[in-house]
Subunit: 302 residues, 2 copies
Amino acid sequence: MSDSASHPTTEQGLEDEPEFQNLSKITIAIFGLGLMGGSLALALKGRVQMLLAVDPDPDTRALAQRQKVVDHISSHPTSILDRADLIVLAAPVGAILQLIDDLPSWMSEPAVVLDLGSTKAHICKAYEALPPRFDPIGGHPMAGKETSGLAHASADLYRHAPFALTPLERTSPRARALSEALVRALDANPLWLDASTHDRWVAATSHMPYVLSSALALATPQEAAGLVGPGFRSTTRLAESSPSMMSDILTTNRGAILQALARLRTQLDRLEDVIQTGDQASILSLLEDAASYHNTLTRDRI
Amino acid sequence: MSDSASHPTTEQGLEDEPEFQNLSKITIAIFGLGLMGGSLALALKGRVQMLLAVDPDPDTRALAQRQKVVDHISSHPTSILDRADLIVLAAPVGAILQLIDDLPSWMSEPAVVLDLGSTKAHICKAYEALPPRFDPIGGHPMAGKETSGLAHASADLYRHAPFALTPLERTSPRARALSEALVRALDANPLWLDASTHDRWVAATSHMPYVLSSALALATPQEAAGLVGPGFRSTTRLAESSPSMMSDILTTNRGAILQALARLRTQLDRLEDVIQTGDQASILSLLEDAASYHNTLTRDRI
């Protein structure tokens, strides 16, 4: 690995670093070849020097080998990992925290470490304890499905998705440039921010939708199921996300989620108040505000 | 129109009535050629004796004429409506209530009257005031989009959708049979129930998802918009439904919606409690309950 001191330190322009104009000289090791790790592999296949993977699940490994998703896959970390320039931790938050703990015993060579975990504060804190040969940076692509597993992976999962990157103070310019080049190779949109801001924002845009989907499902009488339509399906789709993945998220982002819940209750109160009064003009005005504000939130960005 | 006394009075078997084996001898007049009325017309085109429509919007009429969506369209009710065997009121609830008021002055011949309104109690009550030559029945297809207008209509909008039918005491067996035949012609699934049960159920499966989508949009800080992903889009999709259509719904189904909101708050409290404790096992257990219950609610029915 080259010395990073000669690289620029500002984020702007880093993606133009000649070293990462493309990733063809980079070897990437992916821990976890599920929906996220598998989609990453499919998107990078044939475009990097070598793709390595580690996955404990025999079915996943068999599928990966059959479909030649990566160049090498094993059930446990092996010495081949030392060839990796970049380690990608593609697992639920709890498993990522465990992987960070174990990494030093598995790898003796330097490497950039990027994770795809849904919350960033706990993970970035865990990164601080890594020995200096590791160059860690947090990542979180705003992409996914309510399904999981390599069988549902696709090369375009990350296309046009916002991809949060949360560097630590110790993160080198080289690791920043490599991460940004990876994000651009996926056709995703890098968004640089700090871990705690990230966690506050995703509490609103990701964790709150999940909590509400679950609450809405639980609050629906079984007898009403005959009148479930496309609106219900769309609004509650997230309720079938992986409970273990989501419980990691709810425990590692508790503070921000409780704050977002309080904001949600305030808005629910406003809506309930106007519904209670039955005043058409007030109802209409609030609904128009919600519709137009929703439009500003979800308009596609460049 | 034939005397209905010779027709069976049970709901079962009515769809086998020879008269409605197909709808080829039926003339249908649709009031409102928007998303719902337009999709109905597209699905029935060429399969009924004649399709008539009334729509006040000049652009809609121009589009309908250009695409030959119906056989005859006018801006106001004309005497041609007297040829209709079946009147379909395809408008927001407030407009349907007004149409029911005006109908007797427009039509002098008997007709079955079916509406597609999202709430049924107010509408079925208004039907009671119609002169005896009208044979009214409530309807509500669980289909739609957050977009509106004829331009978004499609012949398969109703395919496989539950289609609630809420007869009145005065609704004749013939009107029941004709409505069921229409629903089956759309490839939708008829579900017979009374208006107040319907309203209680859709408060949970349709109106609550809308209210929550709106609350969630309003509770999301603008600065977090950069981290909006597919989960947020799906969960809040309904927030851009037509505010005037939704305000009709919220005012005409207030009681059931307030009850559903109370149930929702109970479930939100449960979720907040386990998140607050941070206890992984309790969180996991509640999330697993929500996921598996959601699955039972949304599993496709025969």
